[in-house]
C-alpha cells in the first residue's frame, strides 16, 4: 500500500516542504467573475451527453398514448381488443384499468387517463406498451373509440356567458381561478391624475420548444419501489405528487434526472404521460419508456399563458405616477396547470416595478377547450411588462417628458418597500436605466426617429426602452424555499458536491462548483457535482423562479465553509499554526500572509483519515432564505432579493412588407455580482433570443382548439442570421444576502424584449401595436390599419 507511510504522519511541519526543496509561494487568486466553461459543455458539444432519449433499460417496453381526436366529447365506447391481440403488445390500458388513479395538476382537475369525457384535442384516453415503438404505434391505430360531441368553448368570452357548457362540474361558471390585489385607493389616484390611459393588450400562445422532447422511463423493482427517470424540474415536490396520484408511499419513489434537454419552466408540473408510463410499467412489470415525437411536443406540451390585459394608468403633469388598475383574462385551457397562477408575478410588475401609490388588480382564468398553459421563463412577467412599459412611453409622450426622465422619476431606489411589501435591499434599477440609455444613445435616436416618421422612406428606424423587476432571491411560495448541500472530500482532495438543485442547462452546477472551489481553494477540475438523484441529493424545492444560483449557491457556500473550517482546524493542529494564519490555495495549505506553501491538501486529508482518530471531511448545510410568505392579500417580501434590468432595442421596419429587423439590443442587468461571466453572458444572450422569438416570430396557432403549426417549419424559432448584436453591461449592486453578492438572473433577459420592441416600432412608425407577435403580416396590417 503506497499510502501506508503517509498514514503514519500525524504532524506536518513547514520545514518538511522546504527540506524537500519544493518550497513555493501561492498568490491569492479568485474565480469570481472569471469566464468558466460550463462543466457539461464538452460532452454536450461533442454529442456524448446521454439524454433520456438515449437511455434504454434491459427488458424495456415502449409506451405510446392514444389522444383524443375531438375537442369536447363524451366517450361512448373504447374497444381495445384488436390492439391487445397484436403480437408484441404487452398491455393496453384505459381509465377502467386504473381505478386507483387520482387527478393531477394545480387544481386537481385533470385525470391522467380520461374515462368518460374529453375536454381537449390532447386528452389521453388509452395507452399501449409494446416491444417496439412501431408496434405500439400500430396498436394505437387498432383501438376503436366512439365519441358523442359536446358543444365546444373556443374562447374566454363564450366560456363566461351565462348558460355556457360547463367544463368541470366543480366550477359551474367555468372560472378556474381568480386573483384580487390592491393597495391604496385607485379612485383617489385617478382623481389626482392629469392624464389617464386605458388600453387592452393581447398576448399570444407560444411554447418552450425544448430541443429534448418530453419523455420518461418508469421501472418498478420486485419489492414495489418505483424508479423514475424523469426530466422534472422539481423532483422532490413530484415525489409527493406522484405518490398521491398513484396511491403509493412517496418514500418508495426514487427520481433520477438524466441530463435534461431544456426546461424553461415546462417541467414544473406533472403531465399525464408520466403517470401513464408508470401505469404501463406496473401492468407489465417491465421498464416502460415513453418519448414524445416533435409533433406531439407541439400539440401536447403546455404553452405560455395567453392573456388579455387591460391596463389603466395615470400620472400628474410633473411626471409622478398616480395609480394603476389592471384586469387580466386568461384562457386557462381545458385543465389547470401553473399558467393560471402567473398573476402572482404579473401583479408584482403592475404594483412594484415603478412607484405606484394606488394599485388594483383583478384576474380571471377561464376554462376553454383549448390547450392549457404551464409555466414559462418569466412566468407572466413578459405579458405584464409588455403592457406597463408601453403605458410608460404613452404617458411620457402625453405629458411632454422624455421617456427616460419619466422612468427615472418613478423608478424604485434601494431601501424602498413597495405597496405590495417587497423590500428592495439592493436595487440597481436607475443605474440600469442610465446605462442602457447612454450606451444605446437612446434619447438622441428617439428624437431623431420621431422627426423621420413623416418622411417617405421605405425603411423606418426606431428605438424602444423597457425595464423589468423579477424575483432574484428565490420565491417563498412553498412551505420552504430552501436547498440542501452535502460536501465530501476524498483522500486525493477531490470534492464531491451533492446539491439539491437540478441542472436544466442553465449552468447552475458550474456556478455551484465555482463557489465551492473558491471556498476550498481547489481548481475546478477537482470538483464533481452530483445533482440528479433524489436518493442521494438533499431536498430542494426545485429549479424555478431564477432561484438556483442564489439559494443553492448559498447552501453550497454554507457546506463549503464548514468543510474549510474543519480542514483549517486539522491543518492548525498538524502544523501548530493558528487556523486564522492559514489559507487554502490551489489544493495546498498555505500561510495566509505570505502564501508560503505548507502541505498539499490531499496529504493533509490522508493524514486525517489514516490517523488514530480517523475521520473524513464531510459536511452538510441547509439554506433557507430570509424571505416571507405572502399574506392573503398577496402582500409580503416574497424574495430575499430582487433583480432589475433595462433594455434598449433598435429596429428597422420595412413598411413595404412589415418585416421588423431587430438590429441591436443594449441590456443592463443588476445581477448583484457576476460569478461566472461566460455563463451569465450565455444566459442573457439566450434569454434575449427567446424574448425576440416571443416578440417577432413565434406563435402557436390554435384554431378551434387545434394546434395548426405543430412543426418547426411553421412554428418559427429565431434563426442565427436574425439574432441582433448585443451589448450587455452588468450592474453589480452586491446584494448583502446573495452568494458572494449575486442575485438570480435566469428569467430576466427574456422579459423586456417584446415591450421594448413595441416601443421601438412605435418610435419608427408612429403606430402602436398592442397585440403580439410582430410578424411581418401583423405589422403590415397595423401600418395599413387593416384588421384580420
Amino acid at each position: 500500500m503506497g499510502i501506508a507511510p503517509e498514514a503514519q504522519v500525524e504532524t506536518i511541519a513547514p520545514h518538511e516542504a522546504r527540506d524537500a526543496g519544493t518550497a513555493r509561494t501561492i498568490e491569492k487568486d479568485s474565480l469570481i467573475g472569471k469566464r468558466i466553461a460550463k462543466l457539461d459543455a464538452p460532452d454536450k458539444a461533442s454529442g456524448k451527453t446521454r439524454y433520456i432519449h438515449d437511455m434504454n433499460l434491459p427488458g424495456q417496453l415502449h409506451g405510446k398514448i392514444l389522444h383524443s381526436t375531438r375537442v369536447h366529447a363524451l366517450i361512448k365506447r373504447i374497444d381495445t381488443s384488436k390492439a391487445k391481440a397484436l403480437p408484441g403488445v404487452h398491455a393496453v390500458i384505459t381509465a377502467e384499468d386504473v381505478p386507483y388513479q387520482r387527478p393531477l395538476g394545480v387544481s386537481k382537475d385533470h385525470m391522467p387517463l380520461k374515462g368518460d369525457r374529453v375536454r381537449s384535442m390532447r386528452d389521453e384516453i388509452a395507452a399501449v406498451a409494446a416491444d417496439t415503438p412501431e408496434i405500439a404505434e400500430a396498436a394505437l391505430k387498432l383501438i376503436e373509440v366512439e365519441y358523442e360531441d359536446l358543444p365546444p368553448l373556443y374562447n374566454v368570452a363564450e366560456a363566461m356567458k351565462p348558460g355556457a357548457p360547463v367544463l368541470h362540474d366543480q366550477k359551474p361558471d367555468n372560472v378556474a381561478m381568480t386573483f384580487d390585489y390592491s393597495h391604496g385607493d385607485v379612485v383617489q389616484g385617478e382623481a389626482e391624475s392629469d392624464v389617464v390611459f386605458e388600453d387592452t393588450f393581447k398576448l399570444h400562445y407560444v411554447t418552450h420548444c425544448c430541443m429534448g422532447v418530453s419523455g420518461v422511463i418508469a421501472d418498478f423493482d420486485s419489492a414495489g419501489g418505483l424508479m423514475l427517470y424523469s426530466q422534472t424540474q422539481v423532483p422532490f415536490l413530484h415525489k409527493r405528487e406522484f405518490a398521491e396520484i398513484l396511491g403509493i408511499d412517496p418514500g418508495r419513489i426514487r427520481i433520477v434526472q438524466p441530463p435534461i434537454g431544456g426546461g424553461f419552466g415546462s417541467k414544473l408540473d406533472i403531465y399525464p404521460f408520466e403517470p401513464i408510463a408508470i401505469f404501463l410499467a406496473k401492468a407489465t412489470r417491465r421498464p416502460v419508456k415513453l418519448i414524445f415525437s416533435r409533433e406531439q411536443e407541439f400539440r401536447i406540451s403546455p404553452t405560455r399563458q395567453p392573456v388579455l390585459l387591460t391596463l389603466r394608468s395615470g400620472a400628474k403633469k410633473d411626471g409622478t405616477l398616480t395609480f394603476r388598475t389592471a384586469t387580466t383574462l386568461h384562457d386557462n385551457g381545458a385543465y389547470t396547470s401553473w399558467g393560471a397562477t402567473t398573476p402572482f408575478v404579473i401583479m408584482q410588475t403592475i404594483s412594484s416595478l415603478y412607484r405606484v401609490p394606488h394599485c388594483k388588480y383583478h384576474t380571471t382564468a377561464v376554462y376553454t377547450n383549448n390547450p392549457y398553459a404551464g409555466s414559462f421563463r418569466g412566468y407572466g412577467n413578459l405579458q405584464a411588462t409588455f403592457a406597463v412599459e408601453q403605458h410608460m412611453d404613452k404617458i411620457a409622450e402625453a405629458i411632454g417628458m422624455d421617456p427616460l426622465a419619466f422612468r427615472l422619476k418613478n423608478a424604485q431606489d434601494p431601501g424602498e418597500t413597495t405597496g405590495q411589501g417587497m423590500h428592495f435591499k439592493s436595487c440597481g434599477f436607475k443605474d440600469c436605466l442610465r446605462t442602457v440609455a447612454e450606451r444605446g444613445d437612446y434619447l438622441r435616436k428617439h428624437a431623431e426617429n420621431i422627426a423621420n416618421q413623416a418622411k417617405p422612406e421605405r425603411y423606418k428606424r426606431g428605438v424602444g426602452m423597457a425595464s423589468m423587476l423579477h424575483v432574484g432571491g428565490g420565491a417563498k411560495i412553498y412551505p420552504s424555499d430552501g436547498c440542501g448541500t452535502i460536501v465530501k472530500i476524498d483522500d486525493f482532495a477531490h470534492v464531491t458536491v451533492m446539491t439539491g438543485a437540478s441542472e436544466i442547462g442553465q449552468g447552475s452546477e458550474t456556478v455551484i462548483a465555482q463557489l465551492v472551489c473558491e471556498e476550498l481553494g481547489v481548481p475546478m477540475e477537482a470538483v464533481t457535482v452530483v445533482n440528479n438523484d433524489t436518493d442521494v441529493k438533499p431536498w430542494d424545492v426545485g429549479v424555478h423562479a431564477s432561484r438556483t444560483t442564489f439559494i443553492a449557491g448559498n447552501s453550497a457556500l454554507g457546506a463549503a465553509r464548514k468543510a474549510r473550517d474543519k480542514i483549517l482546524a486539522v491543518a492548525a493542529k498538524a502544523t501548530g499554526y493558528d487556523a486564522s494564519a492559514l489559507d487554502l490555495r490551489q489544493g495546498t495549505i498555505v500561510m495566509a500572509g505570505t502564501g508560503e506553501a505548507i502541505v498539499p491538501l490531499a496529504k493533509l486529508l490522508r493524514s486525517l483519515h489514516f490517523s488514530e482518530k480517523a475521520d473524513l471531511v464531510m459536511t452538510t448545510h441547509y439554506y433557507e432564505p430570509p424571505s416571507e410568505h405572502q399574506d392573503k392579500g398577496f402582500k409580503g417580501d416574497v424574495s430575499a432579493a430582487y433583480a432589475w434590468a433595462s433594455q434598449v432595442i433598435e429596429v428597422v421596419v420595412d413598411t413595404d412588407t412589415g418585416i421588423v429587423k431587430m438590429e441591436k439590443v443594449w441590456g443592463a442587468h443588476d445581477v448583484g455580482r457576476v460569478l461566472n461571466r461566460l455563463g451569465i453572458e450565455g444566459q442573457i444572450e439566450g434569454g434575449v433570443v427567446m424574448g425576440q422569438g416571443y416578440a417577432l416570430t413565434e406563435e402557436l396557432i390554435v384554431e378551434d382548439g387545434v394546434v395548426k403549426n405543430p412543426a418547426f417549419r411553421d412554428y418559427k424559432l429565431v434563426t442565427a442570421p436574425e439574432i441582433p448584436e448585443m451589448d450587455v453591461t452588468f450592474i453589480e449592486s452586491m446584494d448583502g444576502e446573495g452568494p458572494r453578492g449575486a442575485k438570480g438572473v435566469g428569467e430576466a433577459p427574456a422579459i423586456c424584449i417584446a415591450a421594448a420592441t413595441a416601443n421601438a416600432i412605435y418610435n419608427a412608425t408612429g403606430v402602436r401595436i398592442q397585440t403580439l407577435p410582430y410578424t411581418p403580416e401583423n405589422v403590415y396590417r397595423a401600418l395599413k390599419g387593416v384588421n384580420r
Binding site: D656, T657, I659, T697, I701, K708, N709, R713, D714, K716, V718, T719, A720, P721, E722, T775, P776, E777, Y780, R781, K784, V786, R788
Partner: protein
C-alpha cells in the same frame, strides 16, 4: 403500405423498365419523399426506385442554344455551375433561398419540379426563363423522349403532367437573348429555412428603357407556379415610367389567386405582390 421491391438501376433504360410496371415511388434526393411518406401525406408505393445512380441524369451542358440540366443535379451543384451563373443568375439566386445547406446538397432540381409545390423555389425563375422539361419512357421496348413547357407540366399542388412510366430526365432552358435583365425575389418571414409566402421571377429584354419579351412568374399565389400574363401585357413594349410601374404592380395584385394559410393571408400575399413587383420594376428602371 410497406415497400416490397427496391431498385437502384445504373441505367435509364433499366429504370424506365421498372417504372413501366407502375405503382412505383421515385426516389432522388429524398428531401420531399421522405418527410411526405413519414407524415403519411404521400405513402410510399410498393416499388421504390432509387434513380440516384443513373449517370445519364447528371450533368449540365450547353447544347445548341440551350442549357440542358440533368434531373439529378442538386441545388448546390446548380448554384455553383458556371453556365447557370452566367446565363441564369436568378436560378442560382433562388438556390440561395432554398431550405438549408444540407437540403440543398441532397435535393435535386428534377425532384423540385416533380414535387410541384406551389411554392417551389427553383420553379419560379425557371418558368420566367421559358424552361421546358424532358421526359423519357419505354412504352414499346425502346426509350422515347419528348419535351413539354414547364408551365403546362405543372398542374396543381403536387400534380404534374408526368404520365405513368415516365421519368423526368432533364430541364432545358434557352440561352437568354442579348440585353435580358433578370430579377428574383422570395418573401418568407425569415432569411433561411422558410417556405415562400410569395416568390417572383422576372426576365425581360430592356432596350433604351423599353421592356420586351417580358416574362413574370409567381410562386405561392396559385395552386401551381403561374405566369403573370396580365402584368406582362401591361409592360410589354412599353417604356418604364412611375405610372406604368404602378399599373403593372396593380395588375400583379389583381391577377394572383392566393389562399390564406398559416404562413400568410390572401390579402397580405396580394399586398406583397403589389409592393414587390413595384420595387423590382423600379430597380430594373434605375439600373
Amino acid at each position: 403500405m410497406t415497400v416490397e421491391h427496391y431498385y437502384a438501376p445504373k441505367h435509364l433504360d433499366e429504370a424506365l423498365e421498372v417504372l413501366r410496371a407502375g405503382n412505383a415511388t421515385i426516389l432522388a434526393g429524398g428531401t420531399d419523399v421522405m418527410p411526405q411518406s413519414e407524415s403519411g401525406k404521400t405513402p410510399l408505393r410498393k416499388t421504390l426506385v432509387n434513380i440516384r445512380r443513373i449517370a445519364e441524369l447528371t450533368g449540365i451542358r450547353l447544347a445548341k442554344n440551350e442549357v440542358r440540366i440533368g434531373a439529378l443535379t442538386t441545388i448546390s451543384e446548380m448554384m455553383a455551375n458556371d453556365l447557370i451563373r452566367k446565363h441564369f443568375p436568378i436560378l442560382a439566386e433562388s438556390g440561395d433561398h432554398f431550405a438549408s445547406e444540407q437540403i440543398r446538397n441532397a435535393g435535386t432540381l428534377g425532384g423540385n419540379v416533380c414535387n410541384a409545390s406551389p411554392a417551389g423555389d427553383t420553379l419560379v425563375p425557371m418558368l420566367a426563363l421559358d424552361a421546358v422539361v424532358e421526359l423519357a419512357a419505354k412504352p414499346n421496348g425502346s426509350v422515347e423522349t419528348h419535351t413539354t413547357p414547364l408551365g403546362s407540366f405543372l398542374v396543381g399542388p403536387g400534380k404534374t403532367r408526368r404520365a405513368q412510366g415516365e421519368l423526368l430526365v432533364a430541364i432545358r432552358i434557352p440561352v437568354p437573348p442579348a440585353g435580358q435583365v433578370q430579377r428574383f425575389f422570395k418573401f418568407g418571414t425569415r432569411p433561411a429555412l422558410d417556405i415562400s409566402a410569395i416568390a417572383i421571377g422576372l426576365a425581360a429584354v430592356k432596350t433604351k428603357g423599353v421592356l420586351s419579351h417580358v416574362r413574370l412568374a409567381y410562386g405561392a399565389v396559385a395552386p401551381a407556379i403561374m405566369r403573370g400574363s396580365k402584368t406582362e401585357a401591361v409592360l410589354e413594349g412599353k417604356r418604364l415610367t412611375p405610372e406604368l410601374i404602378e399599373q403593372a404592380a396593380q395588375a400583379a395584385h389583381d391577377e394572383v389567386k392566393p389562399i390564406s394559410d398559416v404562413r400568410a393571408s390572401d390579402w397580405y400575399r396580394r399586398e406583397l405582390m403589389h409592393n414587390i413587383v413595384k420595387r423590382m420594376l423600379i430597380d430594373v428602371h434605375e439600373h
